[in-house]
Amino acid sequence: MSRVVLVGPNRQENLALQYLAAAARAAGHQAHILACNSRTDIASVSAEAVRLRPDVVGLGVQFQYCIGDSLLLARTLREAGFAGHLTCGGHVATFCYAELLRDGPFDSVVRHEGEITLVALLDALQAGRAARDVPGLVWRGGDGIVVGPRREPVRDIDALPWPLREHAPYLVAGIPIAFILTSRGCTDRCSYCSISAFARDAGGPALRMRAAEKVADEVAHLYHASGVRAFFVQDDLFVLGSERKTCGRVAALTREIRARGVGDAVFWVKGRPDTITEAVLSALAEMGVLHFFLGVENAVDARLAYLGRSHRGADNARTIALCRHHKLVPSFNLMVFDPDSTLEDVAQNLAFARDNIDLPWNLCRTEIYSGTRLLDRLAQAGRLQGDWRSYGYRMSDARAELMFRVLRVALHERAFAFDSLLNRLISLSFARQLHQHFFPGATSERLANDVLALIRTVHEDTLQILAEVHDLVARPVPLDGVDVQEHALQIGLAASRRDFAWHERAGQLWQYCHARGRQLVAPVGAMPTLVCATAGTEHNTGW
């Protein structure tokens, strides 16, 4: 038996590490998962990993922005005395294995899906064999690195054990939630997406689906054993390209879930605007889908084509109208900026956001991930900046580029940070939906109105800032650099001052949802009857 410690971000569960840990345990090995969400966690995580005395430590490197912290964590583990096998995996590791082995003290890198490769590595170490010649693995050999044979993805993903869930379910609005996968892979070819790049590079079928019965088994287990009432379906492609296939799939899931005694449970799913139809939404509503993370991405046809999307701007408006009709709340992220965005494109996106001011949304720049066609395109054009740790670019329209740079300063805390106010409002919107669904009545409606009022207020303010910055950079006379900086700082400071009260309000509503949900939700096991006099206010303790 070998011992493995798996480390990675865990802000709202890390199904990748949970699947790996489950596979290792099913093969008779010991596996632990440690959360490392930021640089400040590295020292304590390293100490804990060393204390567990593992044979293998595996780091999950999913995003480009994680690379710096992953390298620091690897070095800290070595400095803390870990002398065992150090490996890593994930989307970035699949493409940047040479750089990781060059710059980090790793012994190997796991490429593509890791369950079978990790178990083979643990088996080899247990048997006293060197960790080499394992398909799916890259390791150090001689003066360089050796890329082992590619490992095909697991065809029957139902053969994999369920993800390791050792902790109690997360709570949102006081209601237990869980994250699940009903499929792996994606058939689309979005130019910026590392998920489709990962699937293509791995070979094998682009999309593998679990049997409806197996998904229902997992849902029913979480529902009955852990009291889970809300499920986040983390599939990269839940709504299929064909209406007939989607409706058949969703109907089968609904039938099998109900057949296992699952009563009132709700789902958060993702979908693309061009695949959402009246029939699909009806089927999803029947299943219990409450919230749609909609792949709007951009409001402009030319930008959507550039990004390799299969939908057009008109699909966005049509699908959002359908969702409203079915009382499903769509949330979305607008990728307002990409390498060839113009200021006119940006303006059209802001108009789209204003048309949907009541919906939960955020905005961002299109980022460049390893393995993607967009990265190749920029590299060929000589426009790729930065390096494998963090790629960047300068937009071809200087005005759009300048607008992004000002917003990077002015709206960092409002929009771009992990705990940004706009992200919190997306969370809060889902929380109020849960209360409206599970605890219908006047109180939930008042709560929903309060949340919607806050969202409208913040969005109105955000759109005013965006318009102000747009007008600033659209001036025909070039701006002085000092003036631009001062504008960015003044806008950012003023926005954060306004956010102060709105963060407090969002915190109060979030805590209220949590406390009320804990009182009203049907208890699991021997949960005592609970009454809290007041909901607390979230504070920034920082200790």
């Binding site: 304590s44 922005y65 902790h167 852990s226 300068r394 300048l402 960092h412 949960m527």
Partner: protein, 343 residues
């Protein structure tokens, strides 16, 4: 390496009273500005600069009013230079360079405490584990001192006993007597385990290291409480959404557009003594590149260095806001901190 020295005493009520804050090894001066909306001359602390890069802020207080019955205590916090991270391995660095070891050093990473139930059905006792940073474990002399600090019933009736060694640190027992009712009203409560370690620096010198771990009350699989330490997962979710990280990267220099470079800026609380909060503007933009501007919504601030200030909070009232902005030749950034703990 910079050192922050916090001098304080405990009043007869047990409340800490700040006497002075000293930053050694930092630079300060005209580069930074600070604005306080309600500062009065009578509230002003006196500041002095020494020629060797030491800046000290001494706070006004009336010893008679405060009921001074305790001697002065000093807390030392090692600070990295602008844009770096202090590590536990550096705790003895100044002693190795010949400095006096006889000061207390605060280090959040030196030791970490976790609590676990002894028996599944018994929520009146727990076993505590003190995990010591591997860089320090061989240097620890004797047993640490562990205390539970904070407010509320979970703190006031807690007893720590039976400290003993463990391969990676130490173990101890905690008992709550009378028993605390861990109901939903306590969910999200937080208190701290303070660990005092005696760390051998050099051949004969011993330094006291103080490390605190926040313990938060969370919920387990069955809805019963559990304890989560700093860095642990707490099942009460703080946020739920599709998060698309937008990395901020230092970009190519020599760009002809403004704001060519990016800087990651965070406002971190370093320490709190009573109603006094010491804040660090932590960033990755390098040293001496930026003008700092500090503002607070209430109370007033005194500058210890460009990136370190003492924030004297109002005696009571709602949460308040501190902000810092950085402005350099090719980059700018804004960071804020909401602070809502009563003084």
């Amino acid at each position: 390496m910079r050192w922050l020295k916090i001098s304080y005493f405990l009043s007869h009520t047990g409340a800490p009273v700040l006497l002075s804050v000293t930053l050694a090894g930092g630079c300060h001066g005209s580069h930074a500005t600070a604005a306080s909306p309600d500062a009065r001359d009578s509230d002003r602390a006196s500041s002095e600069d020494a020629s060797d890069g030491v800046r000290r802020i001494t706070l006004p207080f009336d010893a008679a009013d405060m009921g001074l019955d305790s001697f002065q205590r000093d807390l030392m916090i090692p600070l990295a230079p602008e844009g770096g991270a202090a590590t536990p391995a550096a705790i003895c660095a100044d002693v190795d360079a010949g400095a006096d070891a006889g000061v207390v050093v605060a280090s959040g990473g030196a030791a970490r405490v976790t609590l676990a139930r002894v028996n599944p059905g018994d929520d009146s006792t727990a076993i505590g584990t003190v995990t010591v940073d591997p860089a320090l474990i061989e240097r620890v002399v004797g047993l640490p001192e562990v205390t539970i600090v904070g407010v509320g019933a979970a703190v006031s009736v807690a007893t720590v006993s039976n400290l003993r060694r463990d391969p990676s640190g130490f173990l101890f027992d905690v008992a709550w007597n009378p028993r605390v009712s861990w109901d939903a009203c306590h969910r999200g409560d937080a208190w701290m385990c303070k660990t005092l370690l005696q760390v051998r620096c050099g051949d004969a010198e011993v330094r006291t290291v103080e490390s605190t771990t926040t313990i938060r009350v969370c919920e387990d699989r069955n809805g019963w409480f559990s304890w989560a330490s700093s860095g642990d997962e707490c099942v009460t979710c703080a946020q739920i959404c599709e998060m698309a990280p937008s990395p901020i990267l230092p970009e190519a220099a020599g760009d002809d557009l403004p704001l060519a470079a990016a800087v990651n800026l965070h406002l971190r609380p370093l320490a709190r003594v009573g109603g006094n909060l010491i804040l660090l503007a932590e960033h990755d933009g390098g040293k001496d590149r930026f003008a700092y501007r500090w503002t607070v919504s209430a109370g007033h601030i005194e500058q210890l260095a460009h990136d370190v200030v003492l924030w004297r909070l109002p005696a009571a009232g709602p949460a308040q806001l501190a902000q810092v902005s950085l402005k350099g030749a090719d980059a700018a950034a804004v960071a804020s901190l909401r602070w809502g703990l009563a003084a």
